[in-house]
Symmetry: C2
Amino acid sequence: MWRILAAEGFGGLTMRAVATELGATTGLVTHYFPSKQALVVHALELAETRTRELTPSIEGLRGLAALEQALAGVLPLTPETTEINRVWVSSWDVALADPALRTLEKARYQRWRARLKPLVEQSQQEGDLPPGNPDDLVASLAAFTHGLVVQALFAPRTFPHQRLLDLLQSHLKALRPAGR
Amino acid sequence: MWRILAAEGFGGLTMRAVATELGATTGLVTHYFPSKQALVVHALELAETRTRELTPSIEGLRGLAALEQALAGVLPLTPETTEINRVWVSSWDVALADPALRTLEKARYQRWRARLKPLVEQSQQEGDLPPGNPDDLVASLAAFTHGLVVQALFAPRTFPHQRLLDLLQSHLKALRPAGR
DNA sequence: TGCGGTACATAACAAGTGTTCCGTACCTAC
DNA sequence: GTAGGTACGGAACACTTGTTATGTACCGCA
């Protein structure tokens, strides 16, 4: 199922594609997923699970270093994270078309921002990020990171791994308050 | 055709949908678009045309003010710009799946960045943006803006118009070099 | 007045889609 | 050992998809 998503995107996710990729028939698929919607929902959950699995540990890191690591973990720096991002971006089409899936995607975004928030607050307290509403800063950093992901997916040659890391680092550095 | 894209996204763009929306038959559609690919390509061109049509004029503005206006013009602040953004995000699914469309989308991104570049350079010269590689700054600002667009599309209540503008403005202000 | 090309309508095709139904193994519990 | 539920395989259904072929108006031009 993941192989299909990574190769064809959500547009190529069909009952039969899953069945043949599995070496089975449609009977199996319909047995576990009563409808296409259920299959798509499970695909989204699968994507989030894989995201969490591949999220690099920020153990031992604090403040800005932890934040940078957390954001860098989202960038398409490995084949696996590239696949995940490709699947996510692809899922936005179906997610925007279906109200139920849109709600799921919205909730996922909120969870991501919630996970980033304490790191941002820590960085603010340590003077590495400017003061102000942490929610706004989190939203801005999430926006920057995901926007970078999209550009990198379409032009990987223009945005090689090192440049992505450099852009992230210099962006965080540019946000550092004056006098530090 | 645009009504279909805005309502159903690229997943709902079919020959027959275009025909019935037009009050005609598939014969008309196939007459002007020999294949589905041609139709999709034209849909992408149509999206870019509409984008340019709705891009607010930055005449009379210079430097950071012009840049802010140009970026704000991308944000989903009106029903029309929301539609456009919804279509663009939706197009990323098919664009990532098809190499030819991927190239088109990549080129579009490059054109956007090229249009932003002189404004960024102007802002740098006037001291409103930090020095450094302007291409990097342009990519970062494009990333920020598009990332904000995606979040706003999924959670318009969380990101009302005024907050989007505030986020953009405070982001640009946070990038201002020290001492100004 | 005829002739050719454009602009469709209409229909059919083959392939692919989600879904439903039925049969049948197999395993478990009593 | 037998009843019942689970786990599929296989086939069919109704529908939609892109594509193709055929027919026919209409319009400009010689």
